[in-house]
């Protein structure tokens, strides 16, 4: 009887099955996060300001949001950029590598192709 009560108590202590609504909300949030990535935006994160301030000195964000790499490839890429002169501190290298490696992964679909554009300034000879 005591054992049965104890078991009942344990079962009662088990968390209830997740209701459908939070699961659906999580899936919706994941879809929204993926859509944001595919649109070329940099998701909010403590690393974003570092990327904007220290990576986008030499190139626009699309240079990195088009990549689909493993965490190891991202780390090597960030280390290479630091050798090229990016002013990342020792602490910022893993911060930025982790951010890029979590988001622009090898299983993320390629960026959505935008409409083709006219040549940028300086691409055609002077009239």
């Amino acid at each position: 009887m005591i054992a049965a009560l104890a078991l009942a108590s344990l079962l009662a202590a088990e968390p209830a099955a997740q209701p459908a609504a939070p699961a659906a909300a999580q899936a919706k949030a994941a879809d929204a996060a993926r859509a944001e990535l595919l649109s070329g935006k940099l998701p909010a994160d403590p690393a974003r300001a570092v990327v904007e301030g220290k990576c986008l000195i030499c190139h626009t964000g699309d240079y990195l949001t088009q990549q689909r790499l493993t965490p190891g490839q991202w780390q090597k890429t960030v280390e290479k950029m630091r050798k090229f002169g990016s002013p990342l501190t020792d602490d910022e290298v893993p911060l930025v590598s982790g951010y890029l490696g979590r988001n622009w992964t090898t299983d993320l679909p390629d960026p959505r192709a935008g409409k083709p554009v006219a040549p940028p300034k300086g691409s055609l000879p002077s009239p």
Binding site: T70, A118, P120
Partner: protein, 383 residues
């Protein structure tokens, strides 16, 4: 003037024929009224051509891809000079007028970024994620580099050139874009210092006032805004020659690292074809179609292109526009009337004059260079 489909058909005396053409050329129709370049990065400017570009021998300037490591330099052509120095008897400093006064040659040649197709490699590799369009074919005109070098009189030990243009990285700590070229290729009569592209003076993004044209070789050798030619007994120095733009002597399995001493500078482009008249996911009407595309190979010229409409199970020889040129695009054409509605995997496979054939799979390499697998486009025929 722009005209929508309805008013075009209504005002045309050949309205019925025009409507048929419109249905058979949906890719062209889609491109109407828009640009033709897909941005890969806005800064530095890296833009690739859309597939529909590749149905003609010469690539129009407004459709020509752009590739940059750094910002495009602002070059004052009045003060610009090309310096030739190093292992020469007579160092030179030449103005644009000096180059224009020399005998001019014209060469038709494909310019292709070594990384064209990088996005198609598996496993993926870092770098600009080009798909198909980092290539184009143009007529380039200017003095022969051999004539310029002859004026400088290279000494007997001369064997290589080190090349640098006017572009500079944002940060002084980033390596300069310095490349090298063996003297033998540099003095080939088809290697020129181009001042013009498709008959027009070079645009700033294409290297105004002068760029090197190294026919049949990868684009990283075609130095733009060329300012310094150093003649040397040994190979060029610098990150972009000694480390980057290298290809494995003996490629390993996909994803496998290759030791640095087993990497060599890339030279010739490899054999390749690309379908331009169709696009992935395109829906076609039943009826007659023409599959059109371009093919090229480093220095060999194209001898044959085969086309498949069943994903490569069976092949038929395409008709080639002629004549073959050693370094340029060769347009191929193949009539196709799908037997029934459904999904089709259309493919093209080129063979060059040396017998080299476009492979089923590319040679994977960590730089994502020289992708040249058989081209495949998935389309659907729907009533």
């Amino acid at each position: 003037m722009t005209m929508d489909r309805r008013s075009f058909i209504r005002t045309s005396a050949l309205g019925v024929a025009a409507a048929a053409w419109w249905l058979e050329a949906p890719t062209l129709a889609r491109a109407e009224g828009t640009g033709h370049l897909v941005p890969r990065s806005v800064r530095p400017p890296n833009y690739e051509s859309v597939r529909a570009t590749f149905t003609s021998r010469l690539t129009p300037l407004e459709r020509f891809y752009l590739r940059n490591h750094f910002d495009v330099p602002e070059v004052d052509v009045r003060t610009w000079r090309l310096k030739v120095a190093g292992a020469v008897e007579n160092p030179l400093s030449l103005s644009l007028a000096d180059l224009e006064a020399m005998p001019q040659a014209t060469v038709e040649a494909v310019l292709q970024c070594a990384g064209n197709g990088r996005a198609l490699f598996a496993p993926r590799v870092p770098g600009v994620q080009w798909r198909f369009g980092a290539m184009g074919n143009a007529e380039w005109s200017g003095p022969r580099l051999a004539d310029v070098l002859a004026r400088a009189r290279p000494r007997t030990e001369a064997a290589h050139l080190q090349l640098q243009g006017a572009d500079r990285p944002t940060l002084a700590t980033t390596p300069l874009f310095v490349r090298g070229l063996p003297l033998e290729k540099a003095t080939h009569p088809d290697t020129i210092l181009a001042l013009r592209m498709n008959g027009k003076p070079l645009a700033p993004n294409h290297g105004r006032p002068a760029r090197l044209v190294v026919p049949g070789w990868v684009a990283d050798d075609w130095m733009r805004w060329l300012t310094d030619v150093e003649v040397r007994p040994d190979e060029a120095k610098g990150f972009y020659y000694e480390t980057a733009y290298r290809f494995p002597v003996k490629p390993g399995a996909p994803g496998e690292a290759v030791p640095a001493d087993q990497m060599r500078p890339m030279t010739q482009l490899n054999v390749k074809s690309l379908i331009g008249s169709l696009d992935d996911g395109q829906v076609l009407r039943p009826g007659a179609h023409e599959i059109v595309g371009v093919a090229f190979s480093g220095e060999a010229g194209i001898e044959r292109v085969d086309v498949s409409v069943d994903g490569g199970k069976t092949w038929e020889a395409a008709r080639l526009d002629g004549p073959s040129t050693p370094y340029g695009f060769r347009v191929f054409r193949h009539p196709w009337k799908p037997a029934a509605p459904g999904k089709y995997l259309v493919a093209s496979r080129a063979t060059d004059a040396s017998g080299a054939e476009q492979p089923e799979a590319p040679v994977w390499n960590a730089g994502g260079y020289l992708y040249n697998a058989v081209d495949r486009v998935a389309v659907e025929v729907r009533s």
